[in-house]
């Protein structure tokens, strides 16, 4: 974990919702080019942590560093501009827009031609529009949706919607792609396709932060796994190492402390 290779470095994050300490002093360090898993039982604070990193929820405390630059996750769009793109646990596509337009919206942040140029249909506007469409089509192709570019997002199958969300996030050219339970609700075939897709994203040199319940997926994909339980970091290391950690086993099987129900 040399500082040079670390892409995202987060430390000392705390967050309290009223009387609930959702996160206390949690941190993680993602190595560039790695797939980093974030796991934990229900209610462990995974999603809260994820939302804090991506700026959706302000943290009470914490230090944040992306690619060696300190950043403050105070506004969601600034985090995305800085280079963290995310997907959502419950899919949040632009439902009434075509698949292509969903991805084209993702290109927004990396393009710049202004609206007055659109009104005048200037050369710069037409040129950029062509580039946006080309890049978006390439991404749809990358996730295997090129044939469904003109379909309205809401009419796509569940697995396709998940993959479209990933394509849209990739369109922002993120340094870190953050996936919030991408396999939730997927069948075995779709999971296999997702596994293969994330593998290809890694091969492109992008880092991935993965929240996931599916143990097989996490253990098969991740280079490094961080485990949360009740808002605390309980283990961090290679998948094989984490799997044997007694604290992790206790958290999942309810050995050390009482079941919450």
């Amino acid at each position: 974990m040399s500082a040079a290779a670390s892409l995202l470095n987060v430390a000392g994050v705390s967050k309290r919702f009223g009387g609930v300490q959702a996160l206390s002093d949690v941190g993680l360090c993602i190595t560039a080019g790695h797939v980093h898993g974030l796991i934990g039982p229900n209610g462990a604070g995974k999603t809260t942590f994820f939302n804090v990193i991506t700026g959706l929820v302000p943290s009470d405390k914490g230090r944040f560093e992306l690619a060696g630059q300190a950043y403050k996750p105070t506004a969601v769009h600034k985090v995305a501009q800085a280079g963290i793109a995310r997907t959502f646990q419950n899919i949040r596509l632009f439902a009434d827009m075509s698949a292509l337009d969903n991805v084209r919206v993702g290109r927004h942040v990396r393009t710049q031609v202004g609206w007055w140029q659109a009104l005048l249909r200037t050369k710069a506007f037409l040129h950029e529009e062509a580039l946006i469409t080309r890049d978006a089509m390439a991404l749809l192709d990358f996730v295997g949706l090129a044939g469904k570019a003109q379909q309205t997002a809401r009419t796509l199958s569940y697995g396709d919607q998940r993959r479209l969300e990933i394509a849209r996030a990739l369109a922002t050219e993120p340094k870190l792609l953050a996936l919030d339970e991408p396999a939730a609700g997927m069948n075995a075939t779709e999971k296999l396709q997702l596994h293969e897709l994330i593998e290809r994203i890694r091969q492109q040199g992008r880092s991935v932060l993965l929240i996931e319940h599916d143990v097989k997926l996490v253990m098969g994909l991740c280079d490094h796994v961080t485990v949360l339980d009740q808002g605390k970091l309980i283990a961090s290391g290679s998948p094989a190492h984490v799997q044997r950690d007694p604290a992790v086993i206790a958290a999942y099987l309810g050995g050390a402390h009482q079941p919450t129900e």
């Binding site: 769009h77 827009m97 337009d101 942040v109």
Partner: protein, 367 residues
């Protein structure tokens, strides 16, 4: 978005639009006046469509920008200011007569600014809350206009401003009949052509905005604001642009209205008007430009046409049913009927937005 195969349709409709007022003026100027009013409402609806239809921000105070444009022109092209404020009279000894090339860009600019200013405090509000606040802002503007007659008489209060110049284009006033090759073109007809030209420009602008990076960003915010933010969209700026550009259309419509009527008073800018414009957008098909035009045309002209139908009905009931009430009843029934049968509007946007393969999507998922 005229496609090559649409060229004959385009030419036919262009000729039809040019000829219609000439035919109608034979039946009386009132009929052309209905068209003029409908065109103004189309312009308003196109502007509100940017805010409500594209960006999904329910604005119930939109008529305020119509008022801003109307009063701006009223003050800059009538004797009101020079009569009441000696300093201005001294500056303009010949009176204030703003020409069209100054009035329209100025109205566009000032109302866009007003749109941004009124939009700014509402940025964090959504849905019902946004509607209530914008409704309040709309009323505030009207109340201002009603009361700005003291201590300095700026708006002349509820009495309104009159003797407003008719717009003149290239030295030809639209306020006087014109003889062209034996035909007499009445002021209403002349205004019709000006309004039509501006509406056509507005349609092209709307469509170009719709098909741009900004248009997609608006629609992304309409669909899911949080996801839009997560894609790096600065939703604050993008919403302000929607408010500003939308208000711009309203301001220009207001200027045209003031010139057309020659008189403005706060009464013309009531909540009822805002609600009507929202109804036009929603009824026609929110976000879909042809639908919005249709909605505005129907809702603006239907009550006037019903005026002629309600008369005989009133006579049939021996005068017991008031024509005005009957008219409202019929309009309301029509609106309820449309909403029940076509909940997405009369002419909603096709589900497959900006389709590239033209022969695909016949079975397209209309739920």
């Amino acid at each position: 978005m005229s496609k090559p195969q649409g060229l004959p349709v385009f030419l036919i409709s262009a000729v039809a639009l040019a000829v219609v007022p000439l035919l109608l003026q034979g039946f009386g100027e009132a009929w052309v006046r209905i068209l003029d009013t409908a065109l103004l409402y189309i312009l308003l609806a196109l502007g509100l469509n940017i805010v409500v239809g594209f960006a999904g921000l329910l604005d119930l105070g939109y008529i305020a920008f119509y008022a801003v444009g109307a009063y701006l022109f009223a003050l800059l092209a009538s004797p009101h200011l020079t009569d009441n404020i000696p300093a201005i009279a001294a500056m303009f000894p010949h009176g204030l007569h703003a020409p069209i090339w100054l009035a329209i860009p100025l109205a566009a600019g000032v109302s866009a600014l007003a749109g941004v200013l009124l939009g700014a405090p509402t940025l964090k509000l959504r849905g019902d809350y946004l509607a209530i606040v914008t409704l309040g802002f709309g009323e505030i503007i009207r109340v201002f206009l009603n009361n700005l007659d003291a201590p300095v008489n700026i708006t002349n209060g509820p009495k309104g401003v009159n003797s407003i110049d008719a717009i003149s284009v290239g030295g030809v006033s639209l306020g006087a009949p014109m003889n062209v090759a034996g035909w007499t073109l009445y002021p209403v007809t002349l205004h019709y052509y000006l309004f039509l030209l501006i509406v056509v420009v507005a349609v092209i602008m709307s469509q170009r905005l719709h098909d741009s990076r900004l248009g997609r960003a608006w629609m992304a915010i309409r669909e899911d604001e949080i996801a839009a933010k997560a894609m790096g969209l600065n939703t604050r700026n993008i919403k302000l642009l929607a408010f500003g550009l939308g208000a711009m259309f309203g301001g220009v419509a207001g200027t045209l209205f003031a010139s057309f009527q020659g008189f403005v008073s706060p009464e013309s800018f009531s909540l009822q008007e805002s609600v009507m414009v929202v109804a036009m957008v929603v009824l026609g098909g929110s976000g879909h430009i042809p639908g919005v035009i249709l909605g505005a045309f129907l809702l603006a002209s239907l009550p006037e046409v019903l005026r002629h139908v309600a008369g005989p009905l009133q006579a049939m009931t021996g005068g017991r049913l008031d024509a005005a009430i009957l008219r409202q009843l019929l309009v309301a029934l029509a609106m309820i009927g449309i909403m029940l049968m076509r909940p997405r509007g009369l002419w909603p946007s096709p589900r497959h937005e900006d389709r590239m393969i033209p022969d695909e999507g016949e079975a397209g998922g209309r739920a």
